[in-house]
Symmetry: none
Subunit: 211 residues, 4 copies
Amino acid sequence: MTSKAANIAALHPARRAGSDKQNEKKRELALHTLSALAEVGFARINLRDIAARSGVSLGTIHYYFDDKTELLSYCVRLYKDDFIGRLAERIESASTLDDLLEQFSDALVRAVDEDAHTHRLWYDIRAQALFDEAFRPVVNDLEEQLTAIVGRFVEKVEALGGGGIFSPADPLSVYLMLDGWFRYCLQQRVAGDKRALTEWKRRLASLIRPH
Amino acid sequence: MTSKAANIAALHPARRAGSDKQNEKKRELALHTLSALAEVGFARINLRDIAARSGVSLGTIHYYFDDKTELLSYCVRLYKDDFIGRLAERIESASTLDDLLEQFSDALVRAVDEDAHTHRLWYDIRAQALFDEAFRPVVNDLEEQLTAIVGRFVEKVEALGGGGIFSPADPLSVYLMLDGWFRYCLQQRVAGDKRALTEWKRRLASLIRPH
Amino acid sequence: MTSKAANIAALHPARRAGSDKQNEKKRELALHTLSALAEVGFARINLRDIAARSGVSLGTIHYYFDDKTELLSYCVRLYKDDFIGRLAERIESASTLDDLLEQFSDALVRAVDEDAHTHRLWYDIRAQALFDEAFRPVVNDLEEQLTAIVGRFVEKVEALGGGGIFSPADPLSVYLMLDGWFRYCLQQRVAGDKRALTEWKRRLASLIRPH
Amino acid sequence: MTSKAANIAALHPARRAGSDKQNEKKRELALHTLSALAEVGFARINLRDIAARSGVSLGTIHYYFDDKTELLSYCVRLYKDDFIGRLAERIESASTLDDLLEQFSDALVRAVDEDAHTHRLWYDIRAQALFDEAFRPVVNDLEEQLTAIVGRFVEKVEALGGGGIFSPADPLSVYLMLDGWFRYCLQQRVAGDKRALTEWKRRLASLIRPH
DNA sequence: AATGAATGAGCCTTCATTCAT
DNA sequence: GATGAATGAAGGCTCATTCAT
């Protein structure tokens, strides 16, 4: 951290990482933002709506977040962290191959089915990152975490005697494939078609445990 | 067609499907738009810039396209059609397994390497379609075509005695996997990192022709 | 007519008053314009729509009319002349007081009831004339004609032995009163309420023939 | 009211009915708008000019008024309310027939003579209302008020022993007649001709106090 | 810590008009 | 006589951001 940055942080308490109260407020604002975001997407979100939903004034948003990009990145990290965290829990808690498979598969399918609107954000911000550098750190970071968690899953599958086409040596490919299906099912789901989702669920089983 | 109806159509030529001259102009405008789009993406494109780049006035854009969405959809279809067309040619022209593999793989890798900026659009519009219905038809249509062309590739691989993990019975999975890698490499490429691309090229070979 | 104006007229045949073919075309265009106008009003009319409805190109409109104002004034004159003409016919053809009253009253009431949309134009252009000089000649001219026709009606009422509160010596007041009611009924009619119209019809009778 | 709802209202103060400061500002903006409107009329007014005249930015206009229509309706109501209010005062304050007549007549004549430009708005918006629903509530409301005030005048005339052709039982007809003359005089006045106005003044007297 | 007020650049879209053919 | 193409000024509206309090 440069000395200038340090000074700015010192002057502007909301910037200080350690203040729990500020962070709590940031979290709260971000949660309201996520609910707005899930409805209209990045392209149409505006700070005034967010402020109204959060029950604060427009100025307050800028008091806690430097600009729109910072708020948005914060939001995506928040929800994706949460998603990854819950995925990890499920994986670790499973003790049989069947259970592991069920937990993992169920988590993905339910995410598409029930939280489709929120998960759209991931694909939205990932597309933005192709154009806007500011979004790249979040995307790269989260994508690494996703690859890691998928890797952990494949490892455990093998450890529990499972197999299939997934190679523990190549978690990236596994992640990319899963993410591809996830997004495809999401797309169909948003348009009102659940068949792809059903099909994917079937395949998830057969891929891991080829008959 | 009554003479009145004919005149109405004539009044706004962009609406008439058959006129070569107008279509030529639409194409030309779309090509300029694509170049702008490749630089800044959907989120930041604006019609004034497009008009300036195309060397026409703002009004002219609206003379040929009803609104921004229509122009943008037209553009994506144009470039993706072109990409698919060239991919199809390469696949059909190959007569040996090695050649087929080389052609296909080369087309994908070069697209990422050389036309990264343009190909970002595909992921951008696909994300938009998750929020905006207007973009869904184009996305669904193109995605079907992409799945079909991938299916054709896999078929031909098998016909020429190849194999690997790709199943001709499931072109969708193959497409999703390829698209996943494509996007991932694109992302790294745009950020200045070509390693993922090199790695993918290696894998493309080994996946089709397992050691 | 100045010599310059004469020359312009000579050079531009559509300007020549005597050309029947041109006038026929102007009339035709104006009739289409009136139908468009009746639907959307002056404030929202645009030449492209008019051209489309008329089955001609945009350029053609400007070939026959110098600018939008000229076209619009021409239209109002056309339809109001027609209205006044038919009113005059009815008045002249009546031979008894009852008939005269019935004819006159019926003409007004039906105009409001059946041609409300077209008659709105009159009040629209009259309001415009308060701001835009270009419209004043048409409005003044038509208003004089309307006063005259109303005067003729009142005269004939008296000649046939009628009376009431209307004084033949003051056609302007009579016209203003009738026009006031006409407009008021039109307003209610357009909003879907016919009660004012019914009431007016009743009063028209009683005013002329007080019990 | 929950604190959230309170905050939403607070966010956009223009929406809150009770805030004096905001209402003061709205009034101020509306007054500037009226002066612009009086010059050019509805058809040619634009928000940028209004902002410039008001000495505020374009954004500020939209901060206080949702859209152009809301601003315009607000303006018409403001000025017409004012006109009606002053008319009512004059009527109520008069204690003799002569005074009543003088007050009323003078108010109308001076309005035409001195505030012609502003009063044009009434006829303009009334014409707009024939085409655009959004303006109907204001127009109907004001017209009811005008009829009521005219009714009050006629009542008082009778109470003070006056008479003439005006019937207290039919305030609508009286209003329509007065409004008809008002508009006619306005029209002539705007075109530079005051004769109609003089004539009207003369008649106002004789109508109420027939020779 | 929070907010209300104000900003102004920027965007999409409309439309009368011009002109070469 | 008629048209298709192109224009460009103008307009309404949105929105992130700033700042005094």
